[in-house]
């Protein structure tokens, strides 16, 4: 079963300078054993114009390196500009487009597409409806426990099911930009302050305990979901795709650990050790998978 298992690099969620982004994807193309790379701006339409050309070039480089490119839609499509940009994305993409908002579904009708983790797929009815409408690959929402994941895999038919196994978890989206708000600004005059925090702005409790991370209109977990210890269970269920969500760390190293796991290496303590060393900016968590609070680490 692990022969078929594939690694996906999720979309870059953060507002990095164009040269960082270019360098990041060059390195992925050259060094990271991932099968698929999701590209495109998912969080904020205001960032897109700064990045379009860089992403297009990076996509070419990644494709030359044999990676499959998937273009991901915005997570929250509210105004006409965002809608028009989504329409353009769908029309200009030859390969799979990943819908992260229901709004993208009618645009994708009649062609195979992917469903991202920001779309609510909680049960068999929804999953089967989406598959009947052309979804061939579905990355499930982060809060699903193992029992739900297992039942969804059973009803997925030919569709591939994907789980995020590394990176901060997407927890919420809002019309309001909390990065701007924390800087005393409004979304409309945000001065792109989200570029100050390459992995999200730390949000601590009043006790100084690390809790969440703000990324523009998105709220992420502080902890990094880390499901290396759950790999056998995920494979046995029939999960065939494993998503790594990018951070400003050595993602190629994370991809190598996961490639090793999928190829049968079962030195799990070593895998956890490398992941924790490379991603030292936040602790691991796996609570959701075990039916616990998402912030918890169940050992």
């Amino acid at each position: 079963m692990s022969d078929a298992a594939k690694l996906t690099l999720g979309p870059l969620l953060f507002n990095w300078p164009a040269d960082w982004t270019a360098e990041f994807y060059s390195r992925i193309a050259e060094l990271a054993p991932v099968d698929t790379v999701c590209m495109g701006e998912v969080v904020c339409a205001k960032r897109e114009p700064l990045l379009g050309a860089t992403l297009a070039e990076a996509a070419g480089e990644l494709a030359d390196a044999g990676k499959e490119i998937v273009w991901s839609s915005y997570g929250l499509i509210a105004d006409e500009k965002e809608l028009a940009a989504t329409r353009d994305l769908v029309e200009s993409s030859d390969g799979l487009v990943e819908a992260n908002d229901i709004t993208a579904l009618p645009l994708l009708q009649g062609r195979p597409h992917a469903i991202g983790p920001l779309v609510n797929v909680y049960n068999e009815g929804t999953l089967q409806w989406l598959v009947s409408r052309g979804a061939t690959r579905i990355c499930l929402p982060p809060e699903l426990p193992r029992e739900a994941i297992a039942r969804l895999v059973e009803s997925a038919g030919d569709a591939e099911l994907e789980i995020q196994v590394f990176g901060r978890m997407p927890l919420a989206l809002s019309a309001r930009c909390y990065h701007a708000r924390a800087h005393g600004l409004h979304k409309d005059g945000c001065q792109y302050v989200c570029d100050k925090d390459p992995d999200g702005m730390p949000v601590d409790t009043l006790d100084g305990e690390e809790f969440l991370a703000v990324n523009g209109i998105q709220t992420l977990s502080h902890s990094i979901v880390e499901l290396s210890a759950e790999i056998d269970e995920l494979l046995e269920m029939g999960i065939t795709r494993f998503r790594l969500s990018p951070h400003r760390i050595d993602m190629a190293a994370i991809a190598h650990v996961w490639r090793g796991l999928l190829d049968g290496n079962r030195d799990l303590p070593r895998a956890r050790r490398i992941i924790e060393t490379v991603a030292a900016f936040a602790p691991p968590s796996n609570g959701y998978f075990h039916g616990r609070p998402g912030a918890e680490l169940v050992i």
Binding site: I77, E80, L83, L118, N120, Y122, L127, E143, L152
Partner: protein, 330 residues
């Protein structure tokens, strides 16, 4: 899509609140069954099948409609409670069901084609394209709009799509896109989507520490209050947090949504119905808010601009906000 007074859709967490809302002037009542199928799954709240039957009898005698909210996401492996809720709402003669999940909408459309379907705010359909999708695919007749839209955006949606729209008028505000927020389960393991609860009370603790009242949710401190400072419930997004070395209400100040001073604008925007939040509230609260909004809605229908009803005593933190309806909120 306009015409006449705004329809006043009012909450009922108990049969007593249902009667209070009807008697105070509600046009419609929304409620849920006593289980995880609705997004206010709190102890001691909601309706048994018999109570719903009695409620429909009472509302029917007054010409008031009943809407049943079945707006959480059915659990993989156990869709039974959700499909049964739809079946029973239909059998008991509810005017409409309020649904969020695609699979459940599809079930209702196939099995109860004549049962009117409204799209819950928990589906977070925030633009014309998404709304048209739900109308085309599942025959949705009315959409409860997310609290993320400005009045101008609502107007454009009503121009673009042949569907009734319902907007939140008063009560607690979600600052996140509804139905797409996992903050509660990140801290407690229970979420609106999966369990019908947000920041649930059984995970809340209050501690006295250094002369301060500390409110905690799960393992996390959500707020601290000095002596004499009014202490709000620790709903996660309404907490005080530290970012950039500053303690603040990072996501939202404790405030209640109140649109009573923009009713003419909402009517001009083509809105059909106003929704009052608060199925978890007592009957006195419901009666006060509903009667105040009844007067405001009737005044607006006469072409008057309603004065601010005096609801400040029952708003969160004594503060009112028009939220995202005004663009400056963002």
């Amino acid at each position: 899509m306009t015409g006449g007074a705004l329809e006043l859709v009012c909450p009922a967490g108990t049969p007593a609140s249902l009667r209070a809302a009807v008697d105070a002037g509600a046009d419609a009542i929304y409620l849920g069954f006593r289980d995880e199928t609705n997004a206010r799954n709190f102890p001691g709240l909601n309706f048994s099948r018999d109570e719903l039957a009695e409620g429909i009898e009472y509302t029917g005698s007054k010409g008031v409609k009943v809407l049943v909210a079945i707006n959480t996401y059915p659990r993989a492996g156990n869709p039974g409670p959700w499909t049964k809720a739809v079946d029973d709402a239909a059998a008991l003669g509810a005017w409409a069901v309020i649904l969020a999940d695609i699979g459940l909408l599809d079930y209702a459309r196939r099995n109860h084609p004549d049962l009117r379907r409204h799209l819950s705010v928990q589906a977070s359909a925030a633009n014309a394209e998404a709304i048209r999708f739900y109308c085309d695919e599942f025959g949705v007749k009315r959409v409860v709009l997310p609290r993320v839209l400005t009045v101008e955006e609502i107007a454009r949606i009503n121009d673009a799509v042949e569907v009734q729209t319902e907007v939140f008028a008063f009560g607690g505000m979600c600052v996140m896109a509804e139905g797409r927020c996992l903050l509660s389960s990140y801290a407690t393991g229970e979420s609106p989507n999966m369990n019908g609860v947000c920041s649930p009370a059984e995970h809340v603790q209050y501690e006295e520490r250094d002369g301060q009242l500390v409110s905690r949710l799960g393992d996390f401190t959500i707020n601290k209050f000095r002596e004499g400072e009014p202490a709000g419930y620790p709903t996660l997004c309404k907490g005080r947090f530290r970012a950039r070395n500053r303690d603040s209400y990072l996501f939202e100040e404790p405030a209640s949504l109140d649109v009573s001073n923009i009713l003419p604008e909402l009517m001009d925007a083509g809105v059909t119905a106003l929704k009052i939040e608060g199925r978890q509230r007592g009957k006195a609260y419901v009666a006060q808010v509903v009667s105040t909004f009844r007067r405001a809605v009737d005044a607006a229908a006469r072409g008057e601009r309603p004065g601010a009803g005096d609801l400040s005593s029952i708003t969160e933190g004594g503060r009112q906000s028009t939220g995202a309806y005004e663009k400056g909120w963002r």
